[in-house]
């Protein structure tokens, strides 16, 4: 099979977001290709386009140099492209073989020939080392085996290219090793595999080539042998424009926020924060570095008690606030600027003025009634002071751009006069101007003596703003640096899960850039 697949200049716009910005991607036959990037970088959108889930706004997809049309997953399957979603699409009460033939019409007759299908399935399973029993009920299988059922479904439909979206997110380390062995075997048999992931380690371990995406753009494609983990980390989280922020050197004050051995689980009960301790003083910014999904979000939410705390304590100005409600946290002077601006930090359907008092609605009230006048004055002041542009305070907050919405949320939280401020990914997806504004405000809050926890995947941001930087990996703090003396390389390798200095200075000489595929053809 000499299949190769090319995606050229793919553009996909969602209302208010440019999800894919002229993205190019080439996948060779018989390779494992990793698509690396942070949450929201546009990897999933690009793959959903390839699988026919979304229709691209412009761009083209070529298989062996021939332009193809992908209007639905059906088209994709017909062209030999299959996808394993993060959430499995299996009928739990059906057997493996029933799940496999679900939706297929073989032989043309009205009857289902499960026996023949079982034979074919056994053969496929044997050839690719999947080790599946066709007659077992899927619901009784462990997650790792269910994933193999998803893979055999694709092989049964003769998929030449298998896309796996975050395949290891739900697997144990043993199951992961097993999956990787299977994927290598698929490669041997001439199939191509794309894994969508933000885990560097897996990319280094498994992939032949890697394409890095950031902010909807493809920033680089490298062969694994020629790329170092630090380089990939920087490509993934780095920013093209060099920004610099001046911060005053002043000694921090008394301890404000203290966290002791905090443990937090996620919905499925797995521990995402495994015993984190730190202390932040007044007028100090503690940065938390780490690739997305290493427990930072869970940590932030747990500090406000928006998430169940399994163990440990949170102390604010010496008072134990661990078990208090989010409302009490706010009253005691702890504020949170979440990463998810549109779904957690604001109510996009409501007006800017209504969003400006979110969390302090009880303050802008006279008795039972809202003090609309005071709220509007406050909103006007906030919009002016924090430079929220192009907004009438009566228009819905959802119409604001990401940067302006962030300024609104940041302003609202800072104006509430907190003692401690939890800030999560404050500049993700913002343009340079907005980044500068947000940085300035955060540094000013530091000047005012607030204790700030700054969670960010942007190393440059942390190095510019933070006084100390702690690196989080798999739910633990694996190292703490003084920001003044820290190097990007050192932190980057720790973020990737390596001990400090373990993978220092791999040469970047044979870096290979994907050829720009612009042949004048417009769509």
């Amino acid at each position: 099979m000499q299949h190769s697949l090319e995606m050229r200049n793919i553009v996909k716009r969602f209302p208010g977001v440019l999800a894919n910005d002229h993205a190019n991607l080439t996948i060779h036959a018989g390779e494992i290709h990793a698509l690396l990037g942070e949450n929201g970088a546009g990897k999933s959108t690009l793959m959903q386009i390839l699988y026919g889930f979304y229709v691209m706004d412009s761009g083209e997809i070529l298989i062996d140099g021939e332009r193809v049309h992908l209007g639905s997953p059906k088209d994709a399957i017909a062209l030999g492209i299959g996808m394993v979603h993060q959430e499995f699409m299996l009928v739990r009460r059906f057997s493996v073989v029933e799940n496999t033939v679900l939706g297929l019409r073989e032989g043309g007759g009205p009857l289902l020939d499960l026996k023949r299908a079982s034979e074919k399935l056994k053969d496929l399973s044997h050839r690719h080392g999947l080790d599946l029993d066709p007659s077992v009920e899927v619901g009784s299988l462990p997650v790792g085996v269910q994933q193999r059922v998803e893979i055999v479904k694709l092989l049964y439909r003769d998929a030449r290219l298998l896309i796996l979206d975050e395949p290891t997110a739900v697997l144990t380390p043993q199951e992961k090793d097993r999956l990787f062995a299977i994927l290598r075997k698929l490669r041997e048999n001439g199939r191509s595999v794309v894994i969508v992931t933000h885990k560097l380690k897996e990319v280094m371990e498994l992939a032949d080539r890697v394409t890095v995406m950031r902010d909807g753009k493809v920033v680089a494609t490298r062969t694994i042998g020629s790329a170092s983990e630090q380089e990939l980390t920087q490509l993934m989280v780095g920013r093209e424009v060099n920004l610099h922020a001046e911060k005053s050197s002043r000694p921090p004050g008394a301890p404000v926020l203290k966290v002791e051995e905090l443990r937090v689980g996620d919905k499925t009960g797995r521990e995402k924060v495994r015993g984190v301790s730190f202390e932040i003083r007044a007028g100090e910014i503690l940065g938390i570095a780490g690739v997305d999904g290493n427990g930072q979000s869970e940590l932030a939410e747990a500090l406000l008690h928006l998430r169940e705390i399994k163990g440990g304590r949170v102390l604010l100005n010496g008072a134990d606030v661990t078990a208090l409600s989010a409302a009490k946290h706010r009253r005691m002077g702890m504020c949170y600027i979440p990463a998810d601006r549109r779904h957690l930090g604001s109510v996009t359907e409501m007006s800017v003025a209504d969003n400006a008092i979110l969390g302090q609605q009880r303050k802008y009230a006279r008795g039972w009634f809202r003090d609309t006048c005071a709220a509007r004055n406050f909103a006007d002041g906030l919009v002016a002071r924090f430079g929220v542009r192009r907004a009438s305070i009566d228009s819905p907050a959802g119409k604001l751009s990401g940067g302006n919405l962030q300024k609104l949320i940041l302003g609202r939280e800072i104006m509430s006069g907190p003692a401690a401020l939890i800030v999560e990914q404050p500049t993700r997806g913002l343009d340079v101007g907005a980044v500068e504004a947000v940085w300035k405000e955060l540094l000013q809050a530091r000047e005012q003596g607030k204790a700030i926890l700054l969670i960010s995947a942007e190393l440059e941001e942390l190095l510019n703003l933070a006084d100390r930087i702690a690196v989080m990996f798999e739910g633990r703090i694996v190292g703490t640096f003084d920001a003044a003396g820290a190097s990007m390389e050192e932190i980057g390798s720790m973020m990737a899960g390596g001990a400090s200095g373990e993978i220092g200075g791999t040469a970047l000489t044979t870096a290979m850039q994907i050829p720009e595929a612009r042949n004048g053809e417009t769509v």
Binding site: R13, A326, A327, M350, F369
Partner: protein, 371 residues
């Protein structure tokens, strides 16, 4: 390949766009229904004239329209309060009968035929409102508790709770509250407990005033009161609400209580204003039609009163049309249902627009075959 409908980058949500699509939908519904009139040899124009003349052109008919509109408006207000708080309550039939039974019980406390009722009327009516509201409010709040504390599905549970409430009412009117006689119904309520009639020569009663007052209060709750702000935040985005320090479960329970209470007032108004006794089947589907009214009013408390009047009036007109022109009154059900379906469907026009390129380019199927 050009598509017939193209997604708008930003949906149109100005009041003008909303009222245009709503009236266009209503006119389309009337146009489609016209064809049904033709079947009976009636001119659609005359039929519509007949349909709207009785309820809005005659005093007696207008009185009836007000009688029908009052409970519909109250149920619609309950729908608005609960749905805007993110609580998809559908149990208004149940609240209606609970409210009706509770107020009837209060009204019948006195001895049979006792003239002034159990208490002076300046005390009775506020107490009846409170009684009907709280009884049905607690009934609905039970569903709210199940949803808020245990994650139950409020749509299913509230729908099923209707049957429970209706069975309770059947038990009451055929058991403890049954009047001597053959029919399962209560005694006639004492005259002093009837809501006063407000338009001489008609059946219109003070229930419509209660509905208008409730509409104003619901509007104030959602727009002017801090609690209402918290309810609406909860409805739009429970995660953001929790983030803002709002006690989401408590708010859901409160929303359920208010919604149920308004549904109970509908039952109270029907019993004290129109039926003057309670019998099986008293709700007559008003707990569902009220939801439709709320949808048609786009969950806006102020728009509820005219919409309820339109719906109440149409049902009065339908009866008249059947009497005079022998056109089945069920045609108006078709008209009413079509109106709701089309109003909801026409919403799509605010999110999509017709794509002129569709007609300019060659038909896609033909182009495909040419290749």
């Amino acid at each position: 390949m050009a598509k017939l409908f193209e997604r708008r980058l930003t949906p149109l949500d100005s009041p003008l766009a909303i009222s245009t699509t709503t009236s266009a939908a209503f006119l389309t519904a009337m146009l489609v229904t016209s064809f049904l009139f033709l079947r009976y040899g009636a001119s659609p124009l005359q039929a519509y004239a007949a349909l709207f003349h009785e309820p809005f052109g005659t005093l007696r008919g207008f009185g009836y329209s007000l009688v029908r509109a009052s409970p519909l408006a109250l149920v619609a207000l309950g729908t608005i309060v609960s749905w805007r708080s993110g609580f998809a309550y559908l149990g208004f039939e149940g609240c209606f009968v609970i409210g009706a039974a509770a107020t009837a019980w209060l009204a019948l406390l006195g001895a049979p035929g006792a003239q002034p009722g159990p208490m002076p009327s300046f005390l009775f009516f506020p107490l009846a409102i409170l009684f009907g509201f709280v009884a049905a409010g607690i009934w609905a709040a039970l569903v709210g508790i199940v949803r808020a504390r245990f994650g139950g599905n409020e749509v299913l549970i509230s729908l099923m709770s209707n049957y429970v409430a209706i069975f309770i009412l059947q038990y009451l009117v055929s058991g403890p509250m049954r009047a001597p006689g053959s029919l399962p119904e209560t005694r006639l309520l004492p005259r002093a407990t009837w809501l006063p009639f407000i338009l001489p020569g008609t059946r219109a009663h003070a229930g419509i005033l209660i509905a208008i007052a409730a509409a104003i209060l619901a509007w104030m709750l959602l727009r002017k009161v801090t609690l209402g702000y918290e309810l609406i935040v909860t409805g739009f985005n429970p995660f953001a609400a929790r983030y803002a320090g709002i006690d989401v479960p408590r708010r859901l329970e409160l929303a359920a209580f208010f919604a149920g209470g308004l549904g109970g007032l509908a039952g109270m108004v029907e019993v004290l204003g129109s039926q003057h006794r309670v019998m099986d089947g008293i709700s007559g589907g008003m707990g569902f039609v009220g939801i439709v009214v709320a949808l048609l009013a786009r969950l806006n408390p102020v728009a509820v009163i005219p919409t309820a009047l339109l719906y109440g009036g149409m049902s009065v007109g339908a009866d008249a049309m059947q009497r005079h022109a022998d056109i089945p009154s069920s045609i108006t059900f078709i008209l009413e249902s079509l109106a709701v379906l089309l109003v909801l469907a026409f919403d799509a026009l605010r999110y999509y627009r017709l794509n002129p390129a569709f007609w300019r380019s060659a038909p896609p199927a033909a182009a495909e075959e040419l290749k």
